[in-house]
Each structure stands twice: as C-alpha cells, then as structure tokens.
C-alpha cells in the first residue's frame, strides 16, 4: 500500500503519534464508503495508529436532535464502549462531532464518557489543530471547488469564521485544501447559508429542505464550481439528491478524498 512509505519515512517523525479510534457515521458507511476509506488512508499516511471498532453504529445525534434524548442513550452507551480506550476519536463528520462534544448527555457523565467527549475530533480540526499537517504531497486536484461548511463545523465547531460575526476571516478546511496541488476555488454568493439538510428536518420539512438544497447547489454552480467539497457527507447526500433531481451539473466530494489524493 502506498501509505506504508509515508508511514516509514515521514509522518512518524513529524506528527504526534496517538492511538486513534475511527468513527464512520452511518450515512458514510452506507452511502459514501469512499469518504470513510479516504479518512482512514489519510490518517495512516500521516503515520497514525488507527482502529475502526467493528461494532459501531451511530453517535445518537438523530434522536438527540429530535428531542428524543432518552432514545439516544443506547447509541451513546455503545459509542462509549467502542471508543473509551482510544487517545483520540476522529470522525469525518462535523455534526456527529458536535453531538458528541456538546449534546451527548443521554447517559450518566462518567469519567469514561467525559474522556470520549473531550477527545472527539472532526477530521479537519484533527488535521489542522492536533496533527498540524503542513503538506499533502500526494494530493493533486485539478478542479475548481466550492467549499461547503456544514453548520455543525461552521457554527458549532467553528472551523471557519462566520459571516454574521464579522470576524477576521479564517478557514481550517480552506487552509488544508490550499495545500493541494492544482486546486482552485469558487466562492458562492451565500457561502454560510445552510443547505437545508438538518437531519430529520430533511423529511419532516421536505419542501423547505429541498428548496434550500437546490438554491445551495445552484449558488455553487453559478459561482463556477465543478465540485462541492465538504467535511460533512450528510450535507453532500442531501445536496447531491437535490442537484440530480433539478439537473444541476455539479459533482460532490468529501474533503478527506481530496486530501487523500483523489484526482476526481
């Protein structure tokens, strides 16, 4: 495997080495396995010791976000059983990270639970803040991309500056993507506008959700993006469905895939 060379000659010396538990959210597992594979391979290329506990299911977010918090207990308990033994828990999903970090309280808050909650990272933050990756020498992406920051990453994890606050502009995903050869960026008119996925909102408020999704993908397309890239596959799943139905010719890719060296 190509990762072996990087593991040997590069990453171990440069990046802190931790035992990492990989969480792959249900919709990535079922519909976007390539995003999961890219996440794993990328972390391996960076010399990390990664394990994927096979008995994982869900972080509890769908139940929590619906207000059915007590129904999140089984998923949360299983999550802790799976991940308590790791130094860090990494997942290619902003909204799941947000749930674990900020709302994961359907079960008693033991030391184990606190350990899990305090050491769970979304992939971009992990690469940017913990590993502080400065190069992706294997990555080249000769396309124009529009970056979609999910609301979870943007306003809960704060991986980028938020237009409402007038902060000094910063963007962790953009910092990482800028290190990829050949890539160029298109900026939509409403970069921070929610795409309308919203978990069960996408079904209970189907009309508004789909309309927001179509508006979102058109905004990116009109800005000249060939791809919409995001750290959240749930937003991608929704936007892709909207784009395909409305006939908006734009493609979708998870940020892990570009950083891992996907060419298209």
């Amino acid at each position: 495997m190509p990762c072996a060379t990087f593991r040997a000659n590069r990453a171990e010396d440069e990046y802190p080495l931790m035992k990492i538990g990989l969480f792959i959210p249900c919709y990535i597992d079922a519909f976007y396995p390539d995003a999961g594979i890219a996440t794993l391979e990328l972390l391996e290329k960076l010399g990390q010791d990664v394990e994927y506990p096979l008995d994982q299911t869900c972080c509890g977010q769908p139940m929590g976000n619906s207000g059915c918090n007590s129904d999140a207990a089984a998923a949360e308990a299983l999550f802790v059983r799976n991940f308590a033994k790791y130094d860090k828990i990494v997942m290619p999903s902003g909204s799941c990270t947000h749930h674990v970090r900020d709302n994961f309280d359907a079960i008693p808050q033991t030391d184990e639970v606190r350990h899990v909650r305090e050491n769970t990272y979304e992939l971009v933050e992990f690469l940017h803040d913990i590993l502080k990756v400065d190069a992706f020498p294997w990555a080249e992406f000769n396309h124009t991309v529009g970056l979609h920051n999910s609301c979870g990453t943007l306003r809960a994890l704060r991986t980028a500056s938020m237009s409402e606050l007038g902060e000094k502009p910063f963007s962790k995903p953009m910092d990482l993507l800028s290190k990829v050869k050949g890539i160029s960026f298109a900026t939509p008119k409403r970069p921070d506008e929610c795409c309308g996925f919203g978990g069960t909102f996408s079904v209970t408020e189907e009309a508004v959700s789909a309309r927001m999704g179509v508006d979102k993908v058109r905004d990116h397309h009109q800005a000249g993006a060939e791809y919409i890239v995001s750290a959240d596959s749930s937003c991608i799943m929704h936007q892709q469905g909207c784009a395909e139905r409305a006939g908006v010719p734009i493609r979708f890719i998870h940020i892990a895939q570009i950083l891992n060296g996907a060419s298209q």
Partner: protein, 471 residues
C-alpha cells in the same frame, strides 16, 4: 383558540409553490441581512455592543420588579397614567375602559406586536371602536385580515400587485397599479383624514426607561408620532420586558436596533415620550401576558431580552423560504419558534422543528439570545411533555433501540442497500418517501465501509473487536 398543532411544513410547501413570491421574499430579506452585515463592519465595537446589550437586558430582567416599580413611580411624576395588565383580556379591558371614558370611537394606532398578542382589534370592534393601523405594512395586513408576517416588515410576503389588489378593494384605486409610490400615496390620502379626526392614538414602545419614567418609540414612517400626538389621548401598550434601567443604556440599544433590523444606522424617528401633551392624557399599559412565567423558565428566560429587530428572521433560511404566516402565530421565524410555545405548547409544538438548527439566528441577534440552542432545548421539553406526533416518536424510539444493537443495525443497513439497488423507481419514489419528492435517493454502493474494512484491514488488526458472522 384551537390547540391543533400548526402545520408549518404544509404551509411552507404551499408558499414555495409560488415562485415569484418565494424569490422576492428570500431576496428581500437576504438583502436586509446583507445591509445589516455592512453596518456591522462599519462599527469595530459591534461585538462589544452586543455583549453590553445582552448584559443590560439580563441585569434588568433579574431585577424586573424593582425596575418596573421605579418606572411606575417616575412615570406618574411625569403625569403618565400607568396600568398593569396580567394578560391579553385584562389589557383589552383596560384599553376599552380608557376609550369609553373619553367617548373615543376612532382609534389610530402604530405597530405593536403586543396588541396582536392580545388580539385587541376584534375586542374593540365589538365595543364599537374603529381601529385603523397607520403603519403602511400593518395597514395592508389589516385590510387583508392577516397577521403581520414579519415583526418589522409586516407585509414583506406580498408583492406590489397584491397590495394594488387590496387597495383597489378598500380604497377604490386602480388594481393594476405597479408603482409602489402611487400605492403609498393612496395609503397616505386614505390615512390622513382618519388621523386628523381620530379620538385616540395608540403606540407600542420599543424601550421603557426606569430612571426617567419615559418610553421610546422607533419607527421609520413617522406614523407613531402622528398617532401619539394628533389626538389628545395617547395609549401605549408595552410588554414588561422592554425595560432598561438608565437613559444612558439607550445609546447601546439605539445603535443596535435599526442596524440589526434593516441595516440602517438609526430609525427615521426615535421619539422619547416624557409625558402627556398640553391638555392631553397619556396612558401606559404594561402587559405581562405570560412573561413572568417565561422569566421563571431556566432554559428560556433569556428570550425576554429580545428587542424585536427581526434580524433572526432575515437571516433564517427556513423563514425566508416559508414566509411568516406559515408559523400560524403572532411571532414567526426563529424568535417566534422559541416564544410561541410559551403561549400554547400544543398549538406551537411544531415550530421548534421548523429549523435546521444552523445557528445563524444566534449569531445575528443583537442581544445574544442563544436562539438555536433554545430550539434544541424546546424539542426536548416538547417530547417530555408528549407533544411529538406518535408516529415520529415511535420511529425515534425504534431507531434509538436499533442503534444500540450492532448486529441488527448491520442487517438493516444491508436491507437498505438491497432495496435501493433492486426496487423500481415507482416503489422508491412515492408519497411514503418524503425525501424523494424533490430529491434523488442516495446511490446504493457495492460494499459499505464496514464491509470494506473487514476485507482490507481487519486481519491486519488483531486488536479489533471480535468479528461478526458475515451475511
């Protein structure tokens, strides 16, 4: 009042079907959000102002009884009559009695959300009082017999053609007028005689200052000033949460209010009412109507900080695409979704779900109300109080169970993949599948990540969990 839960989703679907209205509504409100951003960028101290405004409001709310009494004492010294209304009915009765005592039959009023809360107009109509709204948008809504759809721009969901139609019916103007100036002139011509011959005027109040016993009304049309000063009798209806302790605090709020609302530095008219005009009478009716109870709600009391700027509505992508009327409540948009359930938990139980929890509302709020976190918390409360539809509750219950059982969960994923790749389109896309109404389903994959990992990594990692039997 009917307790049937508001069907926001269906009303929104209806709103979206009308493309010209939808597009105008979305773009007009987004434009207000952008103008607000531009004002924010001019003021480097914007975030400090928000923090200060939030602090002042929280302080005031934590000592509300003291400040209310201070206001009452000082207002009386200024010659203002102060009334206390526990709820909407009491408010209406008080206003009705004041009008009766003056034999007032014609009341002109400027915009006031509290009077909408109290449902005052029908009450006064029964007493033979003619109420005329003087705010242009509010008047349009009154003529069309609709609630305001936005707390600052009440008729923002209407196009010029809609207004022309309404005016044609009531003012006998040309229904084909498309020039907003002509329509505004029609309203002016219709309103002026009513204003000049009114027996009483009513306003709301944006801020009440405890130390001076005065109150402040902010408008852009000057109609509040006409309403308050042309007749000799001025009644102001104000919610008890509108207090600030000192006149000096006004500097913070006035700088935030119109910038957040419309993206203008200040409202055209910012009037401080200090007492009755010569020979006239001034009454302030302080309305509770559930506010004291809300103040006691640990997770939701900070919603009382709201200064009614509407910024949360302008930025809300759901509100912009569903229209204020879809909320079926006096207060719409994100702020409505967190305060409406305090008026009627069952009826408004759907509103905290009319949100993606994206959090933009919280970021634009000039008094830093954590709106999207309160939406999240309301969902928990509503489920605890059994206000979630049975089917959805059961689905969540089953999903929660499934997520705790990895083997059953794996089987369910497999079944989903199989059905996505084998079912014909007409089976996958029907009324049972709201996802697929305006969206394609996700594509089935050859193998899940879990399958891939078992094949490609599992053997190399003896430390991993014990393998399950493969399908």
């Amino acid at each position: 009042m009917s307790d049937k839960p508001v069907n926001h989703a269906r009303a929104a679907e209806h709103f979206i079907e009308d493309a010209p209205h939808l597009q105008f509504h979305d773009e007009r409100l987004w434009d207000m959000r952008q103008k607000r951003d531009a004002q924010m960028h001019i003021l480097p101290e914007w975030q400090e102002l928000r923090e200060e405004a939030s602090r002042i409001k929280e302080h005031t709310l934590s000592r509300l009884p003291e400040y209310l009494e201070q206001f009452e004492t000082n207002a009386k010294k200024n010659g203002i009559h102060v009334h206390w209304a526990r709820d909407g009915a009491e408010h209406n009765r008080i206003v009705g009695e004041i009008l009766k005592a003056h034999n007032a039959r014609n009341l002109i009023k400027s915009k006031s959300m509290v009077t909408e809360e109290c449902d005052m107009r029908p009450y006064l109509a029964k007493q033979g009082v003619t109420v005329t709204e003087t705010d242009l948008g509010e008047r349009i809504q009154q003529l069309d017999d609709q609630l305001p759809s936005h707390i600052v721009v009440p008729a923002v969901h209407k196009l010029t053609a809609d207004v022309a139609k309404i005016f044609a019916k009531d003012y006998h103007t040309d229904p084909d007028i498309r020039d907003p100036h002509l329509l505004a002139e029609a309203q002016r011509q219709a309103a002026r005689p009513v204003i000049l011959h009114a027996d009483a005027g009513m306003t709301g109040g944006n801020f009440v200052v405890a130390e001076t016993g005065t109150f402040v009304v902010c408008t852009n049309e000057g109609n509040a000033d006409l309403s308050a000063t042309v007749p000799n009798l001025h009644i102001a209806t104000i919610g008890i949460e509108r207090l600030v302790p000192r006149m000096a605090d006004m500097g913070v709020f006035i700088r935030l209010l119109s910038r957040s609302a419309l993206g203008s530095p200040i409202t055209q008219y910012t009037t401080h009412f200090r007492g009755p005009q010569k020979g006239g009478e001034m009454h302030v009716v302080l309305v509770d109507n559930g506010r004291s109870a809300r103040l006691g709600m640990e997770d939701f009391w900070t919603s009382l900080k709201c200064i009614r700027c509407g910024a949360c509505m302008n930025t809300c992508p759901v509100y912009r695409r569903s229209g204020g009327l879809s909320y079926g409540a006096v207060y719409s948009g994100p702020i409505g979704a967190i305060i409406d359930p305090t008026f009627n938990e069952r009826k408004y139980s759907t509103l905290p779900y009319a949100s993606t929890l994206n959090g933009s509302c919280t970021n634009v709020c000039p008094v830093k109300i954590n709106i999207h976190e309160q939406l999240y918390k309301w969902r928990r409360v509503l489920v605890q109080h059994h206000e979630m539809p049975f089917v959805k509750r059961e689905i969540m219950h089953m999903a929660g169970k499934l997520m705790g059982q990895p083997k059953m969960y794996r089987a369910a994923i497999k079944a989903t993949e199989v059905s996505l790749s084998t079912m014909p389109r007409f089976v996958l896309y029907n009324w049972l599948n709201p996802w697929g109404k305006h969206r394609e389903n996700p594509h089935p994959v050859k193998q899940t990540f879990n399958d891939w990992y078992r094949k490609n990594r599992e053997t190399a990692k003896p430390a991993a969990a014990a393998p399950e039997t493969k399908k």
